[in-house]
Subunit: 231 residues, 2 copies
């Protein structure tokens, strides 16, 4: 069962819509503010009812529409404990399960490193990895409570131990790619395949990436689910 | 079961990759020339083996990579009879079935109107409608053997008679939308909902659209599956 993958061309962010044919319940992961109407229209066209809106972390490169989507639809918001997203209905912890339709569970996997609170979500044979594991890469670890050491542990002990057939759906891609598998990333990922912890930490330390343009705006906004503090 | 939907930003074309978790067989519908490497990489990352590459029609707005993908992977090409795509391995007719994996069948539905040969493909609860039925619209009918009369018949008697839950995956969208359902289109489609044949023909006649920029290049190229005539 594949999710529907939606793309924001401004921030190269993927939003995911999870649903099962013949059932109305749907989950959205990592929605983007400027696409809230598109996402509501998707739900309408597919005859779906939104049950949960989940964040993988407090994003630094775009603003979420989670708060707005939940206000309009009545869905519950969920975000990782420790990401500072105080208003989320569910403060999620490693090992939590979210039942969004009969027999349909999302498993919450704490995968810190890009941020201290970052979560991945496992649904059937799909894992939504946020900015932890990307296709042939990984999220940066040089700001917002990032830790290369923690990210190495998360990827090698929590994500690479999933079934090799598990599809990897990241929060971003900048090269037109859309999906990978755990098996492919274990053997090919440019930053992790055949790379020990010491090498990985050194590699991440030497990336010297520029500060994200929206960091000072996006993080505080996302800590309030994208809602204005007046709302 | 959703297909993987890939997008070409130049021509706003959707390419679809169909596969079933745990099986290796895959089908690609309407691939775009400049993305042939991306599409091969997708197959590699997912551990998939391409069995068929199908065209919904001879496109006028982009060039296909069907020939190239088939040469490299050994997959069979399939195209509608009557679209002038002579080199295709399978010349498809209304009612044909393509078995691409055990128990997995694509049903070929002749839906003329955008072009005389245009086909739609039904797989499980998904229909790939090419340029016949679009989200909240339909393909143009003013060139390349188009016929508004034929398109009205195709959509109202062949597509709108599918189950209302059937997901509609078009060949294009120009407004960031990705998928719809037969039920939604029957009741909301701006050109077809509540519109009789006479009104529809008059509406399509009065669109006065500009000639597609690539028409004279793309159609001959696509009639040869995107392969150079020297190849």
């Amino acid at each position: 069962m594949n999710p529907l993958q939606l793309f924001d061309t401004e921030s190269s962010t993927f939003t995911y819509l999870l649903f099962i044919p013949g059932q109305t319940a749907a989950v959205i992961i990592d929605p983007v503010a400027r696409h809230w109407e598109r996402d509501l229209q998707q739900l309408d066209r597919l005859g779906l009812s939104l049950t949960y809106v989940l964040e993988t972390h407090a994003h630094a490169d775009h603003v979420t529409s989670a708060g707005k989507l939940c206000q309009i639809t009545g869905a519950k918001s969920g975000a990782p404990t420790g990401c500072g997203i105080g208003p989320a209905d569910l403060q999620l912890n490693d090992g939590d399960r979210i039942v969004f339709a009969p027999g349909e569970e999302l498993y919450v996997i704490h995968t810190p490193g890009h941020t201290a609170g970052s979560m991945s979500y496992l649904w059937r044979d799909n894992v939504f990895t946020g900015d932890a594991l990307l296709i042939d890469g990984c999220g940066r670890t040089d700001f917002q409570s990032g830790s290369a050491d923690a990210l190495y542990t998360s990827i090698t002990t929590k994500l690479f131990t999933l079934s090799e057939d598990t599809k990897v759906w990241p929060a971003h891609d900048y090269k037109g790619r859309s999906v990978s598998t755990i098996g492919w990333e274990k053997t090919h990922n440019a930053r992790l395949a055949g790379c020990n912890r010491t090498d990985f930490i050194a590699l991440m330390k030497n990336l010297h990436l520029p500060k994200p343009r929206l960091l000072d705006i996006a993080v505080p906004a996302n800590e309030n689910l994208g809602l204005s503090h007046d709302a």
